[in-house]
Symmetry: C3
Subunit: 466 residues, 3 copies
C-alpha cells in the first residue's frame, strides 16, 4: 500500500539495520517535544482570528511557491495555478493532482504526503485518488472545528511560532494573542526591515518617509531614520520579538562614519544613488543593525545569496515569491568581517548566518561559528531544508563546529499545516546523523541521547533567547 510510506515509522531513517535501530531510539527521545519555530512566515492574524482555512487549492497549492514552481516547470502556465474569474479552486487542484508525480523525491512532496496522511487523513496516496475525491475529502476536513488554526496550533504541539513583520506593523494580532487567556501558545513578531534598508526596493523612499514621520520622535534625515529604526525595534521587543531578520543580496557589511552614511542616505532619497552607493549603504546598515542588536538584544539573522524575481515577465504578471528566486555563490569570510571586528565577541549578541550556497558550510560558516561567540550556523534553508541536504549540512559542519553552534531547525514556512511534517523530518535527520556517529563509535549512545535533545530543543531556545 503506497500510502504506507508517509506513515512508515522508519521513514527517512538510514537503511543499515544496526544504524536504523539506533536512530529509532534517538528519534523516540524527541518525537514528542514541542515545536519551536523561531523563524517563519505564518500570518499572526490567521491564528488570532482563528479563521477557517480556505479551500484545498488556496491552502496548499497557490500560495506555496515550492509547489507552483515545479508544476510551472512542467509547462503549466502560472495563472492556471491560481483560482480567479472562471477558474475555480477545484480546477487548480486538478492541475496539482495531475502534477503530483513530479514531486517524487522532493522535499515538497514529502511534506505534502505527510500532511495528506497525518493532518488530512486521506488514507491513500494522492495519486491513487481522483482529484475530486481528495479535494472533497480535504474540503470536508477544513470546515471541521478541529481544523481551525488555534486547534491545529495545539494539536501540532507548537510552543513558539515566530512571524515575520513589517517594522511599522502595529502587531495588534500578536498583542491580542498575548492578552487572550484562552490561548496558551507564543506567537512572536520578527522585525524585518529589508524594504526600509534596500534602496533598490521600489517603495524604499516612501517607506523611509513614512518611517521617519511615524517613529522618529521628531527626528529627521539620517539621524531620524536610525532613531526610528531603533524605536520600532524597541516596539517589537516590547511585543515579544526575539529576532530581526535580514534578507540581503550579499552578506557585505561596512562601517561608515555618520557623515558619510548620512550623505549616501540623502543621495538615495533624492534618487541619485549609484549601484555602488546602494551597496555601500546597505552594507553599512547591516553594521548598524548589528549595533542595534547588541543594544536591544534582538537576535540578528541574515539570509543572503538569492537572486530575487529572476524571471522578469513572471514577476510583472504575478509578483514576488512566485518560485524564481535563484541562489548564487556567496562569500561570507571577507564580507562579514567589518561587522565581526566590532561585534563578533559582543556580550549576548547572537548572529545567525544562513546560506543557500552549500559550499560555505564547511569552508566559512563552521570556522566562523567555531570561533566567534556571536556567530551561529543557520540551519539548512529553503532549497536545502530537505533530508539529504540536511545530512550534508551536519556532515559539513560538525567536525569543525560540533553540535552547539547551530541554530536548531528553522521551518521558514508560510504553510501552517506543513509545520509538523517539517519539524518531524528534521528530527528524523538529526537522529539519522547521530545514529551514524554512534554506529561508527564516534559518539557514545548515551551522549547521542543528550545531544539530540539539545539540538532539537536546547539550540533554538538558547540561540533565539526563548
Amino acid at each position: 500500500m503506497p500510502s504506507s510510506i508517509a506513515a512508515h515509522p522508519d521513514r527517512l531513517l538510514p537503511a543499515d539495520p544496526g544504524t536504523r535501530e539506533i536512530a529509532r531510539s534517538l528519534l523516540s527521545r524527541v518525537q514528542d517535544l514541542p515545536v519551536i519555530s523561531p523563524h517563519g512566515h505564518v500570518d499572526a492574524a490567521v491564528i488570532e482570528q482563528n479563521t477557517p482555512f480556505p479551500d484545498p487549492a488556496a491552502l496548499l497549492v497557490s500560495p506555496d511557491h515550492y509547489v507552483t514552481r515545479l508544476i510551472h516547470a512542467d509547462g503549466v502556465p502560472m495563472d492556471q495555478l491560481r483560482a480567479s474569474g472562471s477558474r475555480d479552486s477545484r480546477e487548480v487542484w486538478r492541475r496539482f493532482v495531475e502534477a503530483w508525480p513530479l514531486f517524487e523525491g522532493t522535499a515538497s512532496g514529502y511534506w505534502l504526503r505527510t500532511q495528506f496522511e497525518q493532518v488530512f487523513k486521506l488514507g491513500a496516496d494522492l495519486g491513487e485518488l481522483s482529484a475530486d475525491t481528495s479535494y472533497d475529502a480535504i474540503s470536508a476536513k477544513l470546515v471541521e472545528p478541529g481544523f481551525r488554526p488555534r486547534q491545529l496550533f495545539k494539536d501540532f504541539n507548537i510552543e513558539v511560532l515566530a512571524t515575520t513583520d513589517d517594522p511599522l506593523d502595529d502587531l495588534a494580532s500578536h498583542k491580542a494573542l498575548t492578552e487572550d487567556p484562552s490561548f496558551n501558545g507564543r506567537v512572536l513578531p520578527t522585525f524585518r526591515p529589508d524594504a526600509y534598508i534596500n534602496i533598490a526596493h521600489p517603495s524604499w523612499a516612501s517607506n523611509v518617509e513614512r518611517l521617519i514621520e511615524t517613529a522618529a520622535d521628531g527626528g529627521t534625515g539620517y539621524a531620524g531614520y536610525l532613531a526610528a529604526l531603533e524605536n520600532r525595534r524597541r516596539y517589537f521587543v516590547d511585543h515579544g520579538a526575539v529576532s530581526a531578520d535580514h534578507g540581503v543580496r550579499t552578506p557585505a557589511t561596512l562601517k561608515l562614519e555618520a557623515a558619510e552614511a548620512g550623505a549616501l542616505f540623502e543621495k538615495a532619497r533624492a534618487g541619485n544613488a549609484t549601484a555602488a552607493d546602494r551597496d555601500a549603504f546597505e552594507a553599512h546598515m547591516m553594521y548598524q543593525m548589528a549595533r542595534m542588536s547588541v543594544e536591544d538584544g534582538l537576535v540578528m539573522t541574515i539570509h543572503p545569496g538569492s537572486y530575487r524575481n529572476h524571471h522578469g515577465p513572471t514577476f510583472e504578471a504575478f509578483g514576488a515569491d512566485t518560485g524564481h528566486d535563484i541562489p548564487f555563490a556567496v562569500n561570507y569570510t571577507e564580507a562579514i568581517r567589518p561587522l565581526l571586528q566590532d561585534f563578533g565577541t559582543a556580550k549576548d549578541f547572537h548572529l545567525v548566518l544562513f546560506t543557500l550556497d552549500e559550499t560555505v558550510f564547511s569552508r566559512e560558516l563552521a570556522p566562523l561559528a567555531g570561533f566567534y561567540p556571536s556567530v551561529y550556523l543557520g540551519a539548512p534553508w529553503w532549497f536545502l531544508d530537505a533530508p539529504d541536504a540536511m545530512l550534508r549540512f551536519r556532515s559539513a559542519v560538525t567536525e569543525t563546529a560540533g553540535f552547539s553552534r547551530s541554530s536548531g531547525f528553522i521551518d521558514d514556512t508560510r504553510a501552517f499545516c506543513s509545520i509538523p511534517a517539517r519539524h518531524d523530518a528534521s528530527r528524523r535527520i538529526e537522529a539519522s546523523f547521530l545514529a551514524r556517529l554512534v554506529a561508527e563509535h564516534r559518539v557514545s549512545e548515551d551522549r547521542a541521547h543528550e545531544l539530540i535533545v539539545d539540538v532539537v530543543d536546547g539550540s533554538p531556545r538558547r540561540v533565539f533567547k526563548l
Copy 2:
C-alpha cells in the same frame, strides 16, 4: 578471481543488503532497454563505412584523453602513447598495461575493465595477462566480422546515437545511413558552431568567411552570418539533427541590438576585437542561438567552465583534446538570465545546462530547472560521469527538482566500444539512488520502478525530442 569484479552482477550497487536487493530489482527493469545516446563524439563515417577498428592501442589508448592523461601524469611522455615512426602500437599498448594499476578506482578504469570483460572477453583482469597476450587477444577480436561497427551497434542495443558535427559538414554519412535499408539504427548529427562563434578560435575569421560564402544565400556581413547559421541549422534539422551543442568558456548570455552586434562582428573580422568585445559577442551569440532554437526546434545544450588546453607546450606539440582541459568555477544564475528572460518559457524550447562545477547543481541548476519549463539539468558530464559523482548529482538536485527535469544519461564519448559500459554504469547508479529512497521510505517501490524507466528511457526521449 579478480576478473569477477567486472562481471559481478552487483557491481556499483550499494553494500547494504536490503538496499542492494531493491537496487537489483530496479536495475532488472532497465538493463535491457535500448541505448539512447543524444550527445557524443563517435564519427558517423565509422558506422557508415563499417570499417574494422584499428589495433588495440589506436582504438583504446591513443585517442582517449581520459586514459592518456593519467599515464602522462605518471611521467610517461605523451609521444610514447601514440604509435608513430619506429614506435609501433604494441609498444604503446605495453606502456598502457604497465600503467593499468593507476586506473584502480577511476571511471576510466571501470569502463575499460568492463569492455575487456564483456566486449573483448579477455577472461582475466588486464593486470594478470602479459601485454602481448592482451594485445593479441584484442587484435584477434578486432578482425572478426562480429567486431565491425555496425554489428557492434546492433549488439550494443543502440537505438539512437548522436554525433557532433561542423556546421558546414555535408552530413553525407548520416544521409547514407538513413537511406541504407540494411541499417536500422538512428545516427543523428548535432550542430556544433563553436568555431564559428568563438572569436578567439584560431580559424574563426576564415570559418566565418567560408560560412557566409557557402550558406548565406548571397547575404553578407552580420546579417549574412546569422542567415548562414540559420540555413545550416535547417540543413541539420533536415538531416535528422535534434540538438545544437555549445562549448563555451562561461555561460554568459547577452542581448545586443543588431547594429551593435554587427559592429562587434566587423571589428572582430578586422582583427581588432578586444577581450571584452569577444566576450560580449559570444554572449550575444548564445542569445541568438537560443532564438534560433526557439524557431527551428533544435534542443540547445551548453557546456561551459573548462579551461581548454591548459598546458601550452602539450597543446603545441599534440593539439587539442589531449587531457589538460581543466574545469573552473561557474556561475549560471546571473549569466544565463538575459537568455531566460526572453526564452525561459518559450514554447517547446529545451535548454540543457551542463556543468563541471558540482557546486552549481544544488545551488543554481536545480532551482533553475525547477522553475523554467525550458531548462533541463544536464547529466553529470566529463569528470563527473562516474559512480560517486553521479550519486552526488542525484542527491544534490532531486530534493529541489525531482526526477522529471534532468536530461537522462549523456555518454559524450568518442570511445564507441565503451558505450555499453557507460550506460550500464549509469543505470546501476540510478538504481542505487532510487533503492536508497525506497529503503528510506521516501519513494514507494512501485513508483521507483516507474521512475527508473522514465529516467533511463523517458527523459532522453522527451528532453531531446526523440
Copy 3:
C-alpha cells in the same frame, strides 16, 4: 562504558557489517606501519633536548587553536585559556573540562579522546572524571621517563617527522639529532619563506635585509635576495630538508622579467608597494620558488585560501594562530597556470596543492593532478582532516585521479601527542573508503590490500622523496 568508544577496534569504520568486515581486514594491513609525517609544526628542539612536556593545560589546551577556538566560541574569553599571573594551569584545565561536551562529533574531540585513552590511559571518558582527577593523572604521566619526547617518538612508531622552519634558522637541533647515534628517527627541517616573500608581513623589510646580509654571499638587491633564498634552500637540503612550504593568500603565480621583479622589490623595500604590486610580486615569487625547486629538488607545497587573523582585536591581544584563520573560496585553474606552463612537466619536480575549499577537489585539483606529472593532491588539511571530510575528499578525487596522485596523510600538527591518533584516524578512513569500493565490486579485495599500503606508506615516501 563510554570510554569504550575511543578504544573500540571498529571506531570510524563503516556501519554496514559486510563493509566493516572488509575495512577491518584492510586496516590490519597498515595499522602497524611506521608514521611518516612529511609536514607539521613540532619544534625540533623539543625532540633534541628531550625536555619533559609541561603540564596538561600547557600541553593540550593553550597552544592548540583547534581546542581554544571552540571554547572561545562558547563564550570563554581567550585569556582564561592560558595560564598567566594568578591563573594557574589547573584553572585552565578546569575551563577545558567544562567545555569538553562541546567537542562531541569534532575532529579535535576525536584526537583528544584517543590520546586520553591510548597515550595517557585515563581509563574513563574525560567527562566522567573531575577536572582535578584528570589533571593529576595526566600530570603524573608527564613526569614519567616514558613520557619524554624521544621515548614517545619511538613508542609512536614515528619514522620521519618534518618540522617547519625559518629560512635563517641554523637547524642546530636537526643537526644534533642527525649526529646523535642514540636517536634513530629522522627529524627533517622544512623551508618556509612566507615572512620573506609576503610583503604585507609586518617584518618583511627587516627579514629581507637580514636575509641578504646573512646569506647573499655579498650580493645585493633583488639578485642578492634570490641568491640568498637559493643559498638558504641549499643549506636546508644539506640538513635533510625534502620540501619547501608556502602559506599564501591565493594560489596566484606569475612570471615577471627580472627587471620588473627587481623594480617591484625595491618599491616594496622603500615602503611604496601598492596592493597590486604586492600581489604581483608574491605571485612572481611562487614562480621563482618553483624554479628553485626544479633546480634543488625540494618538494613545493602550497597552502592557500585562509584569511589569517580574521578578528583584529584577538590578534592584537593574543597574536597569530589563535583560532580565527577563516577559509575562503579558491580558484587554482587560472592562478597556477603560469607556473605549470613552465614547470608542470619538469623532471622530478613535485608540487603538492592543498585547499581549504573542498569544491576545488573534484573541479580543479583532481583534473590537474590527473594530467601534470608534477602535481599532487594535498591531503585534506586543517578543518578538513576529519573523518567525513577525508571520505568526501577520496570520493571527490579518486574517480578522476585514482590513488597514485595524492600526497598521503599530512598531520600538520604542533600537538606531538596527537600524532598517533591523527595517523590512525586517517588509516581507518582509507580502509573505510576502499572497503566500500570492494563491497561495490569496484576494486578487488586483493588490489585494495595493495592500494592501502601504497596510500599510507608508499605515497608520502614517493611524493616527498623520502
